[in-house]
């Protein structure tokens, strides 16, 4: 039986959706733009980055569009001064947490965090920079893991377990100490389960994961390939 057709309002406009869709999926199907960062089409949604927060009438708090299912008669606002303010806060907190030195980053000019900051008009950060001392794992023959640029979106972990089926990536520790780690917190190069498929690298929105041999601004990723692959894989399962 096909999913039940329902209708919701997005920014005042009546939009058709199917039962089981998220607000984000319904909005994108209707051509509405909601900014995202940890979301990647085809992978499971985690609602971690808080950038896709939307207002839903009758709900007293903001909800992440990527994990909130649509309900018949729902009325969603995707853009407001309040939402822009909260999205800026989310991006600014990501920028102060680690060392995002855009000028010397392999992903400069091709980074989702950088372009999101630009589109939200973030020209400076009001919070105190953390400047943590973080390692770079160069042990893999082809890839680099730079914790300085990681925003803990977990797209690497999701694409690895859900599409490649290798499950190399995990998050270790909690809060400010959380790190993306490979093979139960061993070096990436020593991993037995890594297939070197590079899906994690291609799914990474920043310069945290890159291929060796690329200099500043050279690491251009192919998110559309990963999403296409993830979507068809999902359909098969």
């Amino acid at each position: 039986m096909p999913p039940k057709k329902i209708s919701i309002r997005i920014d005042g406009e009546l939009v058709g959706a199917s039962d089981g869709m998220t607000i984000l999926e319904a909005a994108r199907a209707a051509g509405k733009q909601i900014p995202t960062l940890c979301y990647m089409a085809g992978l499971s949604a985690v609602g971690g980055c808080r950038v896709c927060m939307v207002e839903v009438s009758g709900v007293g708090r903001l909800l992440p569009a990527c994990t909130t299912p649509v309900q018949d008669g729902m009325s969603v606002t995707t853009n407001s001064p309040q939402l822009t303010r909260y999205r800026r806060i989310a991006v600014e907190l990501l920028l102060v947490e680690r060392n995002h030195v855009c000028a010397v980053c392999v992903s400069n000019g091709h980074c989702e965090l950088q372009s999101l900051a630009k589109s939200l008009g973030v020209t400076n950060v009001r919070y105190t920079y953390n400047y943590p001392r973080l390692p770079v794992d160069l042990s893999h023959p082809r890839f680099v893991l730079d914790h300085n640029r990681c925003i803990l979106c977990t797209r690497c972990a999701r694409v690895c377990s859900e599409v490649e089926g290798a499950h190399v990536w995990e998050m270790t520790n909690r809060g400010i100490k959380a790190r993306m780690t490979t093979e139960m917190n061993q070096t990436w190069g020593s991993s037995q389960s890594c297939t070197s498929c590079a899906k994690c690298v291609q799914a990474c929105p920043t310069g945290a994961l890159s291929e060796k041999g690329y200099a500043v601004e050279e690491m251009v990723k192919r998110y559309d390939h990963i999403s296409a692959l993830a979507t068809s894989k999902g359909a098969q399962v």
Partner: protein, 176 residues
């Protein structure tokens, strides 16, 4: 017409922002007669003057000298602009921030020095424990990030200032 009293200063940066300022092509012919460049690396003034309308600050605050300069500038400037990523975020100078400053000096000037070993002390200001962005020390009236900021972003800023407008958030500017 009163000319805009403009100053520029170069703290812990690479001078790339100043090069970007000079890279505005023909616009400089329009801008130059309307400003009085009263202080900075591009002119010969020794003392930062009083009553400056706008100061463009390039670079992070890394040494005691940077901090003294910045505080004097803020006291004598109406509008202070943080120009470029080093002034706005501390950028590359901040890459030393997770290291102890004294240990860093030891490593660079003693352990890895080929000749003249020794941390320089004469005629160079003491480093602050960390390189920090300008807005953490003084009030900043406008931020223009970029490494360097595009000449067009600087032109937009100067044109806003010359027209007496508050600098608008420029949608085209980005970090890096």
């Amino acid at each position: 017409m009163n000319r805009l009293k403009l100053a520029t200063v170069w703290l812990d940066g690479c001078s790339g922002c100043h090069m970007s300022l000079l890279d505005m092509d023909m616009v400089i012919v329009d801008v130059a007669p309307r400003v009085d460049l009263v202080y900075g690396p591009l002119v010969d003034a020794q003392e930062f003057p009083e009553g400056v309308d706008v100061t463009l600050v390039e670079g992070a605050v890394s040494s005691q000298d940077d901090l003294r300069k910045l505080q004097k500038i803020r006291g004598r400037t109406r509008l202070l602009v943080a120009l470029g990523d080093c002034a706005v975020t501390s950028n590359v100078p901040a890459m030393r921030n997770s290291l102890v400053a004294q240990k860093l000096l030891q490593a660079v000037y003693v352990e890895h020095a080929q000749e003249n070993r020794g941390v320089p002390v004469d005629g160079v200001p003491a480093l602050l424990p960390q390189a920090r962005p300008v807005h953490e020390f003084v009030k900043v009236d406008a931020h223009v990030p970029g490494c360097p900021p595009a000449p067009k972003a600087i032109v937009t800023l100067l044109q806003d200032l010359l027209a007496g407008r508050k600098p608008e958030a420029n949608p085209k500017i980005k970090f890096g």
